[in-house]
Symmetry: C2
Subunit: 421 residues, 2 copies
C-alpha cells in the first residue's frame, strides 16, 4: 500500500523566487546573460573580518551550546547595545538564519489552526513556515499608491478572529522596500498590546534605510516587552547569506524558554558560521555607511530608469533592497517567463520575481513584480534598458495593446502616507 | 493584555541530555573534573581533509541551492554508491544536520494529530520535532533483556491506529547501541509496506558497528522505494557535529518534492559546512576502519568494567557509541544529580543522561541511564571506577539498601534475540 504525503506536505508552496530558475538556466545555455533582479543575494563581498576567522577553526568542530556560543551571543549583545537596544544574553538565541527564528516564533505563539496577521505583499517564505506549522496567514493589504505603508488599523481590526495570535511585520520591508515610520510601529504595537497579540518583527534589513531615514525597532517600544519577538539575520547586513546565521530576541521569558527548548531539540546552530560571525565586532559605523551608500546609489539608478518606462508605477523605495513595481501587464509570472524564454536584447535578459507569490489574496499582485537591486550600477542600467524594451514587446506578443492601452501611472491617492494612528 | 504561549510551546521538552548541564558547571567551579558520559560529542578530531577546505572560502558567502550544492550532493552520491546504495542527485536533499531531515520527514508524512510508531527507548530529540509538528509518538517498547532488539510485530500491530502514518527507526540505535539484523529490518519493511506506512530510517551511526557486524540500510530493501525516508548526518561519522550538515534521501517523488519545497522555504543549508564536507571524498576505508577500531576498543573497556559492578545490567552493545544500562536505583535523574552535586572520588565525577527522557512511556526507564563513550580509554576507566563507588554510595545515601537488596542481573529472557519475522 502506497503511503500518502501529508496535507501540509502537499500544501507547501514552491518558492516563487526560485521556481523559474530552470528557465534562467536554459537562457544561459542559449548563450544569454541573465541579470538576476529576482533574488536578494547581495553581490558585495562578505567582510574579510568574518572570513578570516575561519583560519581559527578548532580541531574538533563540535556542537555549540543550543542557544549559541557565549562569544557569538556577546557580539550580538554589543551590536544591539550600539543601537540602544539593550538585551540580556538570556534574551538572545542564535538561529540557523532568520528563517529558523521565524519558525520558532510561529511555533511558540501558534497552535495548528491559529492565525497570524501579515501586511501583504509580504516575504513569501512566511507561507512556508506557516504551512509547516499549520498556521493561517491572514493578509491585510497595503497598496502601492500608499507606498505600501500600513493600512489603517480598522483593516487589522477587521482581520481579527478568535484564532489570531500575532502580527508579523517586516521592517524595512521585503518585498516593498517600505520603511515604516515610528508612528506606524507604535500604532501596531498599541494594537498588539490591546488585543493581547504577539508582535513578530522581522528586522533583517535594519541598516538598509535611505535618504536619512531610521528604522524603528519593535524592541524599542515601551510596554511591549511581553509581546515583541525579534527576528534577525546576518545574511544581508554582512553579505553572508550562506552562513545561515541569525537570532531570535525576546524579553518574554515564556517565549525565550520555549524557543530555547526547540533550539535544544535541533542541538545547535551552525558552528563555523558562529566562528566567522565573531568578526562583526571589527566592523564600525563606516562599514554600515558604505553599504548603505552603495545600495542607495543603486536604488537611485533603478528608480530613475524605471520611472521613465511608460505604464510602470513605482513609488520611491525607502529601504531594504527590493521594491514592488506595477507593470502594464496582467500576469507577472507569464511576463517573467517571457523574459527568460522569448526575449533578449544585446544578448541579455532579466529575471524578475512575479509578485503573486508575495500575496495571500489570490486577486492581488498579478500585475506586479518584485525587483531586487543587488547588482552593480552598470548591470542595473542594462537591466532597465532591457525592461524598457521588453514591456512593449510583451504587450505586443500577448495582444494586450489591442485590449487596452497601457495605463498611465496612477495619481497619488488621497490617503497616501496617511498615518495609521 | 499579555499574550500566551502556544500549547506546543508549553509542551516542548527540555533536552534531558543537556538540562543537568548547570550542575556540571557548578561541579567544575568546585574544582571537580567531570567525565561527560552524557552527550554524544565525539572527541576525535574532525578530519583535516574537511577543515582544510575552509581555506577556499569564497569572497561572497552566498546562498547555496536549497537542496544543497551540486558538489556536496555529488560527494554524498559517491559515498552512498560505495555502500551499494545508488541514489540519484534528485533523491538527495542537504539538510541542517540530521535534525532538519527528521523535521522534514515528520512534516511531509504527518498532519497535526497523526501518529508515528517508535521503538522505545528512542533518541529523545524525536519528541522535540514531534511536538513542533503536533505529532504523537506512539512507543513500542524494547527490553534490555533482549538487547533492545525489536519487539515482535504483534506489538507494532497493537500500537497501530487510523492516525498512524510512519514507523521511525534508528539503526544502529541511539540510545541503546543495538544493531538490528537484516531480518529485523526486512520484517519492519514488510510491515510498513502492508500497512501503507512510511519508514523513517535514521542511520547516522551506520559505520559504528562492532564485532564484524553490518548495519542494514532501509534503502537496500526492495519494494520499499515509496516508503523509505532516510535521515543521515555527517556529525558522528566525521566527528563534525558543529557543521550542522546532514541529508534526507528518498526515492518517493512526492516526499522529495515536499521536502525540497520546505528546503526552499528556509533558503539553503549551511554553506561553509557544505564547503568543508567536500573533503569526505578524500577519506577511504582506512578512515572508517580506524574510527570503528577506536570506538570498539572503548566499548570493550566500558563493557568489561561496568559488567563487574554489582547490580548493573547491560548486554554487550553492538554499535553506535551509546548504551542504556540498568542500575540498582529507582530514579536515574536523581542519581545523575547525586553524581554531580553530592559525590566525587579523587577530585572527579561522572555525568550520565537519565534514561527516562528516552522513553515516551512514563513507567519505563526510571532505573536506567544512557552512557556515551566518546572519551579516551583512560578516562573511561576512571569513569568506571567512579561509577563503581558512586552506586553503593547513592544507595546508602537514599536508604535503598534498607528497602531492598541490590538486584542481581536478570537472566537472559527466553525470547532473547527472538527474530521478529
Amino acid at each position: 500500500m502506497r503511503p500518502q504525503l501529508s496535507q501540509r506536505g502537499r500544501l507547501m508552496p514552491a518558492s516563487p523566487i526560485r521556481k523559474l530558475m530552470p528557465l534562467a538556466d536554459e537562457a544561459r545555455q542559449r548563450g544569454l546573460r541573465v541579470y538576476h533582479l529576482n533574488i536578494g543575494q547581495p553581490d558585495l563581498p562578505t567582510p574579510a573580518a568574518l572570513r578570516s576567522r575561519l583560519a581559527g577553526v578548532p580541531e574538533v568542530v563540535a556542537y555549540t551550546p543550543s542557544g549559541g556560543t557565549a562569544e557569538f551571543l556577546g557580539a550580538l549583545q554589543r551590536y544591539y547595545r550600539r543601537l540602544a537596544l539593550p538585551l540580556e544574553l538570556n534574551e538572545l538565541i542564535a538561529t540557523t538564519g532568520g528563517s529558523e527564528a521565524v519558525l520558532f516564533a510561529v511555533l511558540a505563539t501558534c497552535n495548528d489552526g491559529d492565525e497570524i496577521l501579515v501586511v501583504e505583499p509580504f516575504y513569501t517564505n512566511y507561507i512556508a513556515f506557516a504551512t509547516m506549522a499549520g498556521v493561517r496567514l491572514v493578509p491585510v493589504a497595503s497598496r502601492g499608491e500608499d507606498g505600501f505603508h500600513l493600512p489603517p488599523l480598522a483593516a487589522f481590526e477587521r482581520a481579527l478572529s478568535p484564532r489570531t495570535r500575532a502580527v508579523m511585520l517586516c521592517n524595512p520591508n521585503n518585498p516593498t522596500g517600505t520603511v515604516y515610520t515610528r508612528a506606524e510601529i507604535e500604532a501596531i504595537g498599541a494594537f498588539c498590546r490591546e488585543r493581547g497579540l504577539f508582535l513578530i518583527s522581522d528586522e533583517v534589513y535594519r541598516e538598509f534605510v535611505y535618504d536619512g531615514r531610521e528604522a524603528t525597532s519593535a524592541l524599542s517600544l515601551p510596554g511591549l516587552e511581553e509581546h515583541v519577538i525579534l527576528v534577525d539575520s546576518l545574511s544581508k547586513r554582512f553579505s553572508a547569506c550562506g552562513l545561515r546565521l541569525g537570532c531570535l530576541a525576546t524579553r518574554n521569558r515564556d517565549v525565550y524558554q520555549a524557543a530555547l527548548r526547540m533550539a535544544q531539540g535541533r542541538l545547535s546552530p551552525p558552528g563555523l558560521a558562529q566562528l566567522a560571525a565573531l568578526g562583526i565586532d571589527e566592523l564600525g559605523a563606516d562599514y554600515y555607511a558604505g553599504v548603505v551608500r552603495e545600495y542607495q546609489a543603486r536604488r537611485d539608478v533603478l528608480f530613475a530608469g524605471l520611472s521613465e518606462i511608460p505604464g510602470l508605477f513605482l513609488r520611491k523605495p525607502e529601504g531594504a533592497f527590493y521594491f514592488v513595481a506595477r507593470l502594464p501587464i496582467r500576469d507577472g509570472e507569464d511576463f517573467a517567463r517571457f523574459l527568460l524564454s522569448e526575449f533578449s536584447q544585446d544578448g541579455a535578459t532579466v529575471m524578475v520575481a512575479p509578485a503573486q507569490g508575495f500575496y495571500a489574496s489570490p486577486e492581488l499582485g498579478a500585475d506586479e513584480v518584485r525587483i531586487a537591486y543587488v547588482l552593480e550600477k552598470r548591470d542595473l542600467e542594462a537591466s532597465v534598458r532591457i525592461l524598457a524594451a521588453a514591456i512593449p514587446a510583451y504587450r505586443a506578443a500577448r495582444g494586450l495593446d489591442a485590449m487596452a492601452p497601457a495605463p498611465a501611472p496612477s495619481a497619488p491617492a488621497a490617503d497616501f502616507h496617511r498615518p495609521v494612528v
